[in-house]
């Protein structure tokens, strides 16, 4: 599907067959269906294969440091709440290097959408384990296989009362697109962890593996955090869909300066007089 987000003549650096392509196309389709203006869209990413994604979409982007996409996104959204802000990064970027921001950005509940391309491996640096790599996964660094308990982003997000928590699989275009659309429309921090096969470095968690080891939740009560947590602990098969949704004031909506107007910071007046008054007040105490 052609969208207003397509770029011409670009050289996409992903491997043929990589799951990133389908996330890329799904996202563009979702944005198109939501009728979002590229000029009003900012995609923020870190560093990694997934993090190259904004380079391939017509939009504003901030391709920052490995692991640091979330604080950048929070800063952007807080400075101009009228922008649509999406974060797109890899599992290593978001849950490894960026783990502390993941935890605390969720607590803030900024109105941003966070799409994690979870391929359970470090792609760009050529195949080391990521926090979501499964036990026993062997790599050039984890020569005896991964020893750590895998990081469960869904469970962690729930434990932080993340206001929108979902998991998807990039092999399923339709349902993933619907989840992304819901996430973008959600007012608050929306996490979508998307399973994405890395055809080059992850020979375990392949398209086939994901297909065989996932299922969509049915009759799941999205407002029950306890149930959501129980679901999050399920391992084989792994549930897909929206685990939890909660309506809570966003970071931006709680700022004094946005109580009466959403005018972005750059449009606000610099009042020399107000500052002079402050200074003059320091002559008295």
């Amino acid at each position: 599907m052609a969208t207003r987000f397509d770029l011409e003549n670009i050289d996409i650096a992903w491997c043929p067959g990589c799951g990133n392509y389908s996330i890329h196309n799904i996202l563009k389709a979702a944005l198109e269906e939501l009728d979002i203006d590229p000029k009003n869209l900012v995609i923020v990413s870190g560093i990694g294969q997934a993090a190259k994604a904004p380079q391939y979409i017509r939009c504003n982007y901030f391709n920052g440091l490995h692991g640091r996409s979330l604080p950048v996104a929070v800063g952007i959204k807080a400075s101009n709440p009228n922008l649509t802000v999406i974060v797109e990064s890899g599992d290593g970027c978001m849950y490894g290097e960026g783990g502390n921001h993941f935890v605390h950005a969720i607590r803030r509940n900024s109105n941003i959408t966070v799409i994690v391309h979870n391929n359970m491996v470090y792609g760009l640096t050529k195949g080391q384990a990521s926090p979501t790599s499964q036990r026993g996964f062997t790599t050039s660094v984890q020569v005896a296989g991964v020893l750590n308990e895998p990081f469960n982003p869904i469970a962690v997000a729930l434990s932080l009362k993340c206001s929108f928590v979902a998991r998807a699989f990039c092999g399923d275009i339709q349902q993933t697109k619907e989840i992304i659309k819901r996430a973008i429309l959600h007012e608050g921090f929306a996490l979508i962890d998307i399973f994405q096969p890395c055809v080059t470095f992850n020979k375990i968690n392949t398209y086939k593996w994901f297909k065989e080891n996932t299922y969509y939740m049915k009759d799941h009560d999205e407002t029950d955090i306890r149930k959501a947590f129980e679901r999050a602990l399920e391992e084989s098969p792994l549930p897909l869909g929206v685990f939890y949704v909660e309506k809570r004031p966003t970071f931006e909506s709680q700022q004094r300066i946005y109580k009466n107007s959403l005018e972005p910071l750059f449009k606000r007046k610099h009042s020399v007089e107000q500052i002079m008054n402050l200074i003059e007040s320091k002559r008295r105490w």
Partner: protein
């Protein structure tokens, strides 16, 4: 006429209140006042002290000499800790149950029942009011002056607190008035203009300077001695359009601030060495994406946690060379409270104009220094450097001066793409060798024509033979130290990088140069060797955590002039 008063005691015993009230009383009485506190990294107990200098001429520097020492504690350990500052002619007052004299290390100690008087007034915690009364009496100020201070401070707290504190002050005042040994009664000339002066500390000056520079976003993580700037801005956020966010760590703080600049805000981070160390990767990011960012770096002694509440100037070369890869930056180091304001305001303008990180390099000494002064530099309306983008906008357009018009998302028809990887003019990732070379050169070209925002300042005799060079917060100390010397001038630097173009001439005109720095390795000296090829100087260093005393700079300078150094 001048008097230097040192108040000491444990954290939590009320020094802070006196340090706030008494200078205000003095200023309201038309007297010039200076204060600086040295304190331990703890909330209660320990041993702290605050120096308050009173004078009928402006006073702005830390000195060793103490004329009057008041201990809020009955423990003589505080005296021992301060013993090198207490000469034999100092009047020492110690809290005690009795009203008698005592000898300690060969010095007379006047015992005053401070806490007993407080208790008599209603509560032991009124000791600070007792001392306020005492101090007013010692200086021969009318009791009304103490009274109005107490009213301002305590009389919105409800209950009997106000009245009881007044009684406490009165008891303190009278105790001194009736104690012939302690009536100092120096006669100060009150200057009515002083009453109209400003009285703020360095932290407030930086915070207000930020507002003047158009700052409307601050994201930081608490760290002494930089936190004061954050809390001041937080207080102003009740009225000013500024977002104040305490981040989960310093990495988040600076990345948030970069996001804010990207979206059109003017953002500040305030931190100290250890916190800044965590921001270094993002500093390099600012260099790569050519984002403005203002970093208030309030230095304290390192390495690592070091002495969290004390002062040092040892992060200069760190600030200058931090960050991987090569990119430009500007470093400003204000020399006093007025400059703390003006440098910070200027930092935002420079950062926005040149699209480079700008450091405001202060330290605990400047943050916690208070003195009265006439006025601050005029607040200028902010010039907004952001452009409205057009279709096909190039964020990194190669220009002659290396500066590309900066757009922001959602303002204009273009897309604003920034990339921490090497990128082309559109901000898209590239590995093209030719573009890489051009981008490196563009980034390094930006300060080629940097006109001196703050030239080196020559203070004193223009026909000097001896030159004393200093930077940042040592300014007033050095100036006072050599003010009566012939043939000596001081050059003070606010602009550390790029070095101002007039510096070299000043240095080369001198017969001998002395560089005074609060660090152990003479970092400014190294910088001058490196940047100016100037190698011929002596150094004076201090690195025990305290600022220089006027006296020790004076003594050293004397020997330097005499040729003993």
């Amino acid at each position: 006429m001048e008097l230097s008063i040192l108040i000491c005691g444990e954290a939590g015993q009320g020094i802070q209140t006196i340090e706030y009230l008494f200078p205000n009383v003095l200023k309201d009485s038309g007297l010039n006042v200076y204060s600086y506190k040295e304190y331990m990294s703890r909330v209660r107990g320990g041993s702290n002290s605050t120096l308050i200098r009173v004078s009928d001429r402006p006073v702005r520097a830390f000195c060793r000499k103490v004329d009057v020492l008041v201990s809020l504690s009955s423990q003589t350990t505080h005296l021992s800790r301060l013993s090198d500052r207490i000469d034999s002619d100092a009047i020492i007052i110690l809290d005690s149950d009795s009203n008698t004299k005592l000898y300690h290390n060969g010095k007379i100690i006047h015992q005053v029942p401070i806490s007993k008087l407080a208790l008599q007034a209603g509560n032991k915690v009124y000791s600070n009011s007792v001392v306020l009364g005492m101090l007013c009496s010692i200086l021969n100020l009318p009791f009304e002056n103490a009274l109005s201070a107490i009213e301002k401070w305590f009389c919105n707290k409800g209950g009997n607190i106000c009245e009881e504190n007044k009684i406490a002050a009165k008891l303190g005042y009278e105790n001194i008035s009736t104690n012939s040994d302690l009536r100092i009664r120096k006669d100060f000339n009150s200057d009515p203009r002083v009453k109209e002066h400003l009285l703020i500390n360095g932290a407030e000056a930086v915070a207000i300077g930020a507002l003047a520079g158009g700052c409307n976003f601050v994201s930081s993580y608490p760290m002494s001695p930089s936190t004061g700037v954050l809390t001041n801005l937080a207080a102003y956020s009740r009225e000013f359009d500024i977002i104040v966010e305490q981040a989960e760590d310093e990495i988040s703080a600076i990345n948030m601030a970069l996001g804010a600049w990207y979206a059109g805000a003017r953002a500040l981070v305030t931190t100290s060495g250890g916190g800044f160390a965590l921001m270094v990767e993002a500093l390099s990011l600012a260099g790569a994406i050519e984002s403005p960012i203002v970093i208030h770096l309030a230095q304290r002694p390192g390495p690592a946690t070091g002495l969290p509440t004390r002062t040092e100037q040892a992060d200069l070369l760190f600030a200058l060379f931090s960050g991987h890869g090569e990119f430009e930056r500007v470093i400003l180091a204000p020399g006093n409270i007025e400059q703390a304001f003006s440098c910070t305001a200027k930092a935002f303008e420079i950062s926005d104009k040149y699209q480079v990180p700008v450091f405001v390099l202060t330290d605990q000494y400047l943050m916690d220094t208070i003195y009265n002064f006439d006025s601050l530099k005029k607040v200028e309306p902010c010039f907004n450097h952001v452009v409205k983008t057009t279709d096909n906008y190039k964020r990194y357009e190669i220009t002659q001066d290396g500066i590309s018009p900066r757009g922001i998302p959602g303002f204009g028809d273009g897309l604003v793409c920034v990339d921490s990887d090497e990128h082309d003019e559109f901000g898209r990732i590239t590995e093209n060798f030719t573009i890489r070379k051009k981008m490196v050169e563009k980034r390094l070209r930006k300060l080629k024509d940097f006109s001196d925002e703050v030239p080196a300042e020559l203070i004193g005799n223009e026909d000097y033979r001896y030159l004393i060079l200093c930077f940042g917060s040592t300014r007033e100390i050095v100036v006072e130290a050599v003010k009566d010397f012939d043939e000596v001038a001081v050059v003070h630097l606010q602009q550390i990088h790029p070095l101002p173009s007039n510096l070299s001439r000043y240095l080369r005109m001198a017969q001998k140069v002395l560089i005074v720095e609060s660090n152990a390795t003479s970092q400014l000296g190294k910088l001058i060797k490196m940047d100016l090829g100037f190698n011929n100087f002596e150094t004076l260093n201090k690195y025990n955590g305290l600022p220089f005393y006027v006296e020790e700079v004076r003594d050293f300078a004397k020997r330097f002039v005499k040729g003993e150094i």
